[in-house]
């Protein structure tokens, strides 16, 4: 055994950490090597001194500090629940809830889902309100287009085109004064009887407008076609327009008046001036105008 190795083992020898054979070998070497014995002494004294080094003692407050730390940590463990999936599941399993309550909660949840779903669905529908507004806008634009088309078409030389124009006005929700004027002038001036009749038909529903009423009353004097005259008279009765009595009387004075028209007008005048039950309070020429059958009327008219 060499001295180098011995020196390395001295510490273990002192700490008695050598195996029996190593120890024997070492003591054998020490017996014959004075150098190593000296070394052993030095190391030993060092080792002993090292053993006597004052062991630092922790101060008194390390213990209370530890207990405080432990308490704080316990508290934080208690108050911070385990938010991992596993922890939540454990928590859920540990909950002791009676079954009926669980079922009730479950059904409440389903109900809630249904309500929320329904609410969401209806909400998404009302968001369509914007779309509806757009549609309304488009509809008014289409209406304006129709109006323009109507105004253009009503000047058309073809009677069928003019008829179409008049029929367009029925589709307008609220015809403007321009349209009404156009219709009234058509009623007065159109050469075609059918067009004028259709115009009258279109104007009749608008008669709550005073301008339209006025126009209709004025139109009475201008009509020459018996068909239109009769139709106008009917409208006057419908509207109970008393102002029409005067122009109607004017009409009666025309010489070439159709007989059936004459009787119709007389009947109208009577109805208008007396109210519905046509009592002849101011009969123009005869008292029989309340007869209903056309044959009788014709007979009376010829008298």
């Amino acid at each position: 055994m060499n001295c180098e190795r011995t020196k390395e083992q001295l510490v273990d020898y002192l700490g008695s950490q050598l195996s029996a054979s190593e120890q024997a070998e070492l003591t054998a070497h020490l017996a014959e090597c004075a150098d190593c014995r000296e070394e052993l002494q030095a190391v030993e004294s060092m080792w002993q001194t090292l053993g006597k080094v004052r062991v630092p003692e922790p101060s008194a407050h390390i213990r209370p500090d530890f207990y405080a730390m432990l308490a704080t940590f316990k508290e934080s463990v208690d108050t911070t629940p385990d938010y991992t999936l596993k922890g939540l599941w454990q928590w859920w399993l540990n909950l002791d809830i009676p079954r009926p309550i669980l079922r009730a909660v479950y059904s409440l949840c389903l109900l809630g889902v249904g309500l929320i779903g329904g609410y969401w669905f209806s909400n998404s529908r009302t968001t369509g309100a914007a779309d509806q507004q757009q549609i309304a806008q488009l509809a008014t634009q289409v209406g304006n287009m129709r109006q323009m088309m109507m105004l253009a078409l009503i000047e058309n030389p073809s009677a069928s085109e003019r008829l179409r124009a008049v029929s367009y006005t029925k589709q307008l929700d609220e015809p403007t004064t321009k349209v009404v004027d156009a219709l009234l002038s058509t009623l007065d001036n159109d050469p075609n009887v059918n067009v004028r009749l259709a115009t009258l038909e279109a104007l009749a529903p608008l008669a709550q407008d005073p301008a339209v009423r006025q126009g209709l009353v004025h139109s009475l004097a201008r009509q020459e076609s018996p068909l239109v005259q009769t139709a106008l008279a009917d409208v006057m009765v419908q509207l109970q327009e008393r102002r029409s009595v005067k122009p109607l009387r004017e009409l009666l004075k025309q010489e070439n008046l159709d007989e059936s028209v004459k009787s119709k007008i007389e009947q109208t005048i009577q109805t208008l001036s007396t109210g519905r039950p046509a009592a002849p309070s101011t009969p123009p020429r005869n008292d029989q105008t309340n007869l209903t059958s056309p044959a009788q009327r014709a007979a009376v008219a010829t008298v």
Binding site: K7, E8, L10, V11, D12, G15, Q17, A42, V43, M46, W47, T49, L50, G51, K52, V53, R54, V55, P56, E57, P58, S59, I62, R63, D65, F66, M69, L70, F73, K74, V77
Partner: protein, 182 residues
């Protein structure tokens, strides 16, 4: 101590299973040696007390990482080493930030040296120990004061038992040199 009947490993297994009160006997057994070990490493009592506290805090925090098959002693000293290493790094950063501070402490150390000569024999050795490089000091402390075998030291320091033995030997030689140089 009344709690010696239960082994460290059993106690730590209980702590791991959230019976946190079982840390108390472990604290009673280990806070002294740990404080001692850390004081040797840092040469600062107050810091060592803080670090000892930190070790037990980490035991609680990382209790789930403890494997009941491994010796508690090795595990807790590993933790103490890490705590010290973290502390050392923090301190290094602070030092790097202030060079003047380093020079001042250098001056203070000179004053401490002159003071050392007057102080008692054991304190002499204490100071000599403090002058050893930290790794050597650590290995001596583990070997002489904490009762670690070379096998355990090797595990803790990440080397073989033989290497640990050689290191311990060299550390003792170095200490002798410093001690007798004065």
């Amino acid at each position: 101590m009344t709690t010696t009947s239960t082994s460290d490993e059993e106690l730590m297994a209980a702590v791991k299973a959230d019976d946190l009160d079982q840390l108390v006997p472990l604290f009673e057994r280990y806070h002294g040696p740990l404080f001692n070990y850390l004081t040797r490493l840092t040469n600062d009592r107050d810091t060592s007390e803080d670090l000892t506290q930190t070790v037990f805090e980490r035991i609680l925090k990382y209790r789930s990482s403890y494997q009941p098959t491994q010796p508690f002693k090795a595990w807790v000293y590993q933790m103490a080493r890490n705590v010290h290493a973290d502390y050392w790094q923090r301190k290094e950063k602070l030092r790097a930030a202030d060079v003047e501070e380093v020079e001042k402490t250098g001056g203070l150390r000179g004053a401490a040296f002159s003071q050392m000569r007057i102080s008692s024999h054991h304190d002499d050795l204490h100071e000599a120990l403090a002058l050893l490089p930290t790794p050597q000091r650590e290995i001596l402390v583990l070997n002489r004061f904490q009762g670690f075998g070379y096998e355990e030291i090797g595990q803790l320091l990440g080397c073989t038992a033989e290497a640990a033995r050689v290191k311990a030997h060299r550390a003792l030689q170095a200490l002798r040199k410093i001690y007798f140089a004065n």
